[in-house]
Every structure is written in C-alpha cells, then in structure tokens.
Amino acid sequence: MEFAQYITYGVINGSLYALVAIGLALIMGIMGIFNIAQGSLAMIAAYGSVLFFQHMKIDPFVSLALTLPGMFLVGVFMYLTMFMSMNKFDPGQKLRNSMLVSFGLVLIMETLATILWTANERTVTTAYSGTVMALGDLRIPYTGIATIILAIVVIFGLHFFLKHTTFGKSIWAVSQDHDCAMLMGINVKRTTLVAFGLGIALSAFAGAVVSLHTVSPAVGIDWTNKALILIVLAGVGSINGILFAGLLLGIVEALGVYLVGVHYTGVVGLLIFIIVLMLRPQGLFVRKAGV
C-alpha cells in the first residue's frame, strides 16, 4: 500500500508540474518565444498568494481572481518592453534571444524576491492544509485533489479555448501563418500581445498551488526545469500532452523516491529526459517531428 501512496503523490506533483509548464508550452509552441522565466513568474505569483493570505486571509484559490489579472498585466508589460521587438528575427534567433532575455529575468526576479521577502521558505496554512481524504489505507491530501482537478480543468480548458473559440482560433491562425492571418483581418499585434499575456497569466494557477507547498525565491528555476522537461517529453506545440507528460514525470519521480530515496528525485527526471531525447526527440505525444 505504501507503493500506491507514492504513486498518489507522484500524480499530485505531476499535475503541479503540468500547471507550471502549460504557460511555457503555450508561449513556446505558438509564439516561438522561449521563456525560461516561467517558473520564476509562478514563484512571484505564489508570493502574491502568500501575501493575500497573510494580510487579508484570502484563500489562494480565491485570490486567483486577483493574481490572474495581475500576472496578465506583468505578461503584457514583458511583451511590450522586451519580447515584441524580437518578432523581426528568424525563428532560431528569436528562440535564442528570448531565452537569453528571460534568463536575465530569472536573475532579476530571484533577487527581487530575496530583497522583498527574504530567502526564507514560506507557505500558506489554511484550515484544510494537511487534511486528507482516506481511501482505505490510501491518504490523499485535499490540496492534492484540488491540484489535480485544477490541472485538468486548466489544460483541457485551454485546449478547448484554442480550438473552439473565435479568439482562440485566431491565436492558432497567427501562430501558423503570420501574414495570412493579417490578410484574414486578424489584428495580429493585439492577438500576440493577449496570447503572451495569457501564457504568463497561467503561471498564477501554478503559483496558487505552489503557495500551499513552500515558496522561496530559489524555487523558480527549479519549476522551470520541470516545465522544460515536460515540454521535451510532450513535444513542442502539444497542449494536452503536457498533462500526460506531467503525470509521467511525477510518477517516475515517485518511483525513484520509492526505489532509491528522495535525494535523487531530480536525477531520475534528468534520466528520462535524456532517454526521450535519444529515442524520441520529437516528444512522446506528438505524432510527427516538427521540422
């Protein structure tokens, strides 16, 4: 039964990884912008949740109503000041420059968070923190259940939005063919701006969940790392694949903890990353290699 308990935690962690990765996947797959700062943005959002809870006793899931638009505005600011100017580059250069700039942002955000909130770990302790649902011997934290549901709703919701709403379709159209979309009467500038803002806003979901675990300035880059591994596992451009990739990584890590101990969790992740790169570099959930 202990084994099933490990797997349960793996599923919960995997859902959280997917929540961090989804914004990164959206921005990378649709706009060709490689945002290494995604995890750091989730970290900032998580501090937002922590502060709302500490000062106003607002539950992290409720304060999403504030952190989501807040992060959207952060995204709009980032796009207008830094990433918009990269549209003139070819895809390779755009990827490289956006990666470098966002790497600078990681440093800025981590330092800023340390100055503002110190390097200490913080967490939100709600009434339901630590409470569990017992299923036989299996114990499932309520926050974990919330994480899983949130991940499913957000990711499939995003998929539905992109495929079945007018604005979502116009985001797709812009990503497929910039000039053609313009000819079809889509306001390309506004669409890309909103899409980027949306991708950054998604980090607020991850932030809310992260705040229930532990937040410190240094976790940002670690979350980004998990997100990037998911992108490679799922394949660039895959939205639904992110959830499955997250579950896969979470479960494999849990198995690693079960078998070799908690110190080597990350190494297990790195190993599957390398194996996938060698055997199936286009990703596990994409049918054909994008050229």
Partner: protein, 313 residues
Amino acid sequence: MVERKKGLVLAAAVIVALALVPFFTVREYVFSILCMLFLYVTLSQSWNILGGYTGQINVGQAAFFGMGALVARLLWVAGVPFYLSILAGGLGSVILAIIIGLPALKLRGHYFAIGTLAVATIAQITVGNILPGISFLPAQQMATYSLIPRYYVFLIIMAAALAVIYFTVNSRVGLGMEATRDDEEAAQMVGVNTFKYKMIAFLISSFFAGLAGGGFAYFNASYYWYLPFTLMWCFEPILIVFIGGVGSFLGPVIGSVCYVLLKELFALTLGEANLLIFGIVFILTILFFPKGVIGLPAKLRQLFYRRGNVVGR
C-alpha cells in the same frame, strides 16, 4: 598575420607581467581581486567557445563549474595531490558534457539549452541534498594556506584556457565551429560535420569550466558544497560574454574586467541589489547592443554614418 603575431607577443607579455605581480605586492586584496578576474576570464572564455563561436547556448555552465569544484575538492581533501585533483575535476566536467551533449547536440534549437539547464538545476539540488553542509579544509591544509599558490593556479588555468581556445578558434576547427553557428545546413553542405564541432566545442568548454571550478575549490577555505552549483555561475559567464562581445576572443576578457570592477563597486554600495543592476544591464545588452563593448565603436560609427549620410549604400 603580422598583427596576429604582435597580439600574441603582447598577450604573452601581459601573462608574464601578471606572473611577476607577487614580487611587487603582498596585499591580499590585490590577489583576491586578480584571482577572481582570472576565474571569470577562464569561465567566460570557456562559455564563449561554445556559445559565441559555435552558437550553442549553455544556460547551465554552473553544472560544469560545480562538477570540477566538487571532484577536485573531494579528491584534494582526501589527500590526492592538488594538480591531479584539479585535472580529475576537469575530466568529471567533460564526462558530464558527454552525457548531455550526445543526445542534445544532435538536435537543434532549444534542446541543448533545456538539457544544460536541467543538469544545472538538478545538480544543484542533488548536491545540496547529499552534501548539505559546509566543506572545511583539514587543519593541516588550513595551516599552510597562502594566496600566492592560488594566484598562480588561477593564472596558469587562465593562460592555458586562453591559449587553447585562441588556437582552436583560429584553426580549421574554428572555421567549422563558426560555420556551424551561422547555418548548420549550409555548413554540412560544404563538408562540415556539425555535430562533431559542436561536441569539440562543448568538451573544451566544459573542461576549462571544470578547471575553473577546481580553482574555486582550491581558493576557498570553506564553502557550502552546493555553492559552486548555484544559478549565479550559470548567469555570470553569459553576462560577461555578452557585455564584452559574444563570439570575439577579446570580448570575454574585457567583459570580465568590467564585471569584476563593477561588482566590487556595486557590492560595496548596493549589497544584494547589485544583481538587479546586472540583470537589467544584461537584458539591455541583448536587446540593444548585441555585440557588446567590442561592437560599440562599430555601432557608434554606424549611427554616425546614418546621420551623416542619408543616401546610404
């Protein structure tokens, strides 16, 4: 050709002059500043051969720096002669590079960046988990601690890195690297095995990053084991290379001088906030001065030319 010879003679003269510094001063402050300068020149030049000349962006240089430090320190503290320990550290980094490079460098675009970042974050956390404490020097080594041998170790590592990288980038291998950076397909079309040149650059890069890490392990009497694995060691070489001038040989040298001086200045006046300044400077460099300090004269000339001559070419 004549200019190149002049440059080499000048460089050799500078190295010799630096080797003579301990005969003229014993001020610890001077030594530690110079040691840091040599470390940053080595680390950033090692980043530059891969990132600047070959176009493969390594966002996880800390893993290779840290690996060198970890292996060298473990062996050295265990009693292995220092010069062997530091070489073993360099080799440890090379092995790590082979593990990441074989899958990631075969592919294009973001895979290499993701691979290096993954290995860096995972190394930092794993080392922090397994060796959570501080590494102290044994009392016997502590008693004989002196900055002078540290100074020479850093100087030798830097001179070796500069020499190897200089002759590599100015050789046939360097042509292959630059062609790979500019256009992989076109490079293959004229006979360049691009994977091979990416791998060569990565191995040289990681070896010298590892040696620099070994220097760090030799220099510091005590430090947290995970310290050479922290994000800063990923960020600093990139920052230095881009401020100095990416893909040029002198860029990282100039960048290191600027960085070490500014860091001293800011650290005194701003404390932790100095990293904010560097982060902002870095982003501005990428966005507006992609060729760094080295490219500044050309950039200014270009601006001037445009103003002065409306017709243009």
